[in-house]
Amino acid sequence: MNDLPLLTATKLSRSFFFNRGLFNSKQRIVKAVDDVTFALGRSETLALVGESGSGKSTTGRLALGMMKPTSGVVRYESQDLSKLHGTAWRRSRRNMQMIFQDSSSALDPRMTVGAQIEEVISVHGLADKKHSSRDLMMDALDRVGLGGADLRYPRELSGGQRQRIAIARALAMQAKLIVCDEPVSALDVSVQAQIVNLLVEMQEKFGLSYLFISHDLRVVRHISHRVAVMYLGRIVEMARTFEIFENPLHPYTRALLAAVPAIDSRNRHSSRTPLIEGELPDPASPPSGCRFQTRCPLVHDICRQVEPALADAGGDHTVACHMTGLSENGGSQ
């Protein structure tokens, strides 16, 4: 891995405003992402995990520059995304792609998939004398195992095949970073495994970096190098994948792991009673102190008053919890 990260996000925040009513001037403010900092290396996969409403998808959009942050900076190859213009901006757009849960919404139903990929190749001027846009398109389809499918329409393809097309299109644009937002959640297990394998293979071949957004920890375990666990807009724990799964420090991470319905023996009998009760609180009025305190089995007085800061637990492992004994100096921010 190169020392210089491909992408860094520093103190990213993003708020959404909702009107309460016609004459009510008070707005409902939801801090979907609140003070999130992370870095993504080359050829690395960072997974963002958490429940719906944790802000993981918004973080993905902010990282891509698809959405402007309320505050904070995203740097791609050391350049501030919000300050890029013209060619540099176009190049960064091309290098940063996104794959969605449902690729059919990102594909034109009236165009063959081959034509759609050729189109992006010519829009970005990627063809040259040696490689026509058609050659490049055929190459990209071959790589995802769909050689010869160029004349098919999106509706003629299965969900897994459409996901391959989305990957092929990103490859054709010579993407370096792909934000994958729940890319395999809608697929059957056997197909899901195929797409996960394909993503890993493409990463090894082309040195791609993935920001992998998923609620499924089982898939995350197999694809990611590092994992960031998000809760109500904040990262509460971040570590290498092995660390997260074998040595989870945050009670929320432990609860997520315990909730995974796995067929292997570990979770089968232990998790008959879930570790956490209740549901995600209203993001417009997050709890005081630690955001997880309303559902935390270890909650203490300090948790209700002081928000824990991310503290170093050694070995690239950070966690925001008072009960780990690491954040005595953390205090509120």
Partner: protein, 312 residues
């Protein structure tokens, strides 16, 4: 129901009315000098000036506008020059006749349109469904004046069961009400069918079946309330148009309502009366829409309580 929602909708309705009144004012001024339209061409110039001064037409246009608005607010729409009575009085005395006809027509439309639409949706692709669709298409492609004349030919001329014109008894009401009613029933049936088909395919209808609820309960308690919004919208439009739609039917059946008054007033260039009718037609439409808006909030708890997302 949200009080703010109610106030907002009412204010919006008032604004619409003011715009309509302004529009009428502008159109009348654009149509040419009202004096020249009313007085004979050979009127001497000094007499014209006299009339101009008497009707305030010599003042600047904005003064005319303000005095026009203020008189409208006072309910003064000018006088009918044919019999010298206030235009408002001439028009309002016709309201009962038109309202009776419109209400009867609406009842017919609902009694025919709603069950037909529901039955068609329940038995999709069956003979009933096809019959309802044909009725909807036919009902809309036959103009009301033609259908009215057909009814007169059949029931008055051939069978001699019903009187062909006038408004003396309930028998007089039957044919014009059916003419309006069946025309509108076609629309209601079509919208009801489409809306019901949409609702019947929803997961909560399957839940209702799986819960063992009887058919009538499912239709009346579950499907119809959910299908109601488009149906209520279309009924609102129908009610709003009752006044202007009455013109043809009232003429065909010589029904002494506002529709017929419109025709005679236009022919006689009764500006004040026409103006009053336009205002009243607009008022009906605005009131019907307001009512529909309020009904929405009552029919669907999600309306009015929803917040619209805005991002910055």
């Amino acid at each position: 129901m949200n009080v703010r929602f109610l106030i907002a909708r009412t204010l919006r309705a008032l604004l619409t009315l003011i715009l309509v009144v302004t529009f009428v004012f502008v159109m009348l001024r654009l149509a040419g000098d009202p004096i020249k339209m009313l007085l004979p061409e050979e009127t001497p110039a000094n007499v014209i000036e006299q009339y101009r001064a008497r009707w305030g037409l010599d003042a600047p246009i904005y003064v005319q506008y303000v005095s026009y608005i203020s008189s409208v607010l006072r309910g003064d729409f000018g006088t009918s020059f044919r019999d010298g009575r206030p235009a408002l009085e001439v028009v309002t005395e016709r309201i009962p006749a038109t309202a009776t006809l419109g209400f009867a027509g609406l009842i017919v439309a609902l009694l025919v349109g709603l069950p037909a639409g529901i039955a068609a949706a329940m038995k999709r692709n069956s003979a009933i469904d096809r019959a309802v669709i044909s009725f909807a298409v036919l009902g809309h492609s036959i103009p009301t004046f033609f259908f009215g004349i057909l009814l007169i030919l059949l029931f008055s001329m051939s069978l001699r069961w019903l009187p062909s014109s006038g408004s003396a008894t309930w028998a007089h009401l039957l044919m014009p009400a059916c003419t309006i009613g069946l025309w509108n029933a076609a629309t209601i049936a079509r919208f009801t069918r489409a809306s019901m088909l949409d609702v019947l395919s929803k997961p909560f209808m399957r839940t209702a079946v799986a819960n063992g609820l009887p058919l009538s309960w499912r239709i009346l308690g579950y499907a119809l309330p959910n299908a109601a919004i488009p149906i209520v919208t279309i009924i609102g439009l129908i009610v709003g148009q009752l006044l202007s739609g009455a013109v043809i039917v009232e003429t065909v059946f010589a029904w002494p309502g506002i529709g017929r008054l419109t025709v005679t007033a236009v022919a006689a260039r009764e500006v004040a009366v026409v103006q009053t009718i336009v205002f009243l037609a607009a008022l009906t439409m605005v009131a019907a829409n307001l009512l529909v808006d309020l009904l929405y909030g009552w029919l669907d708890p999600r309306i009015g309580s929803s917040t619209e997302g805005k991002s910055r």
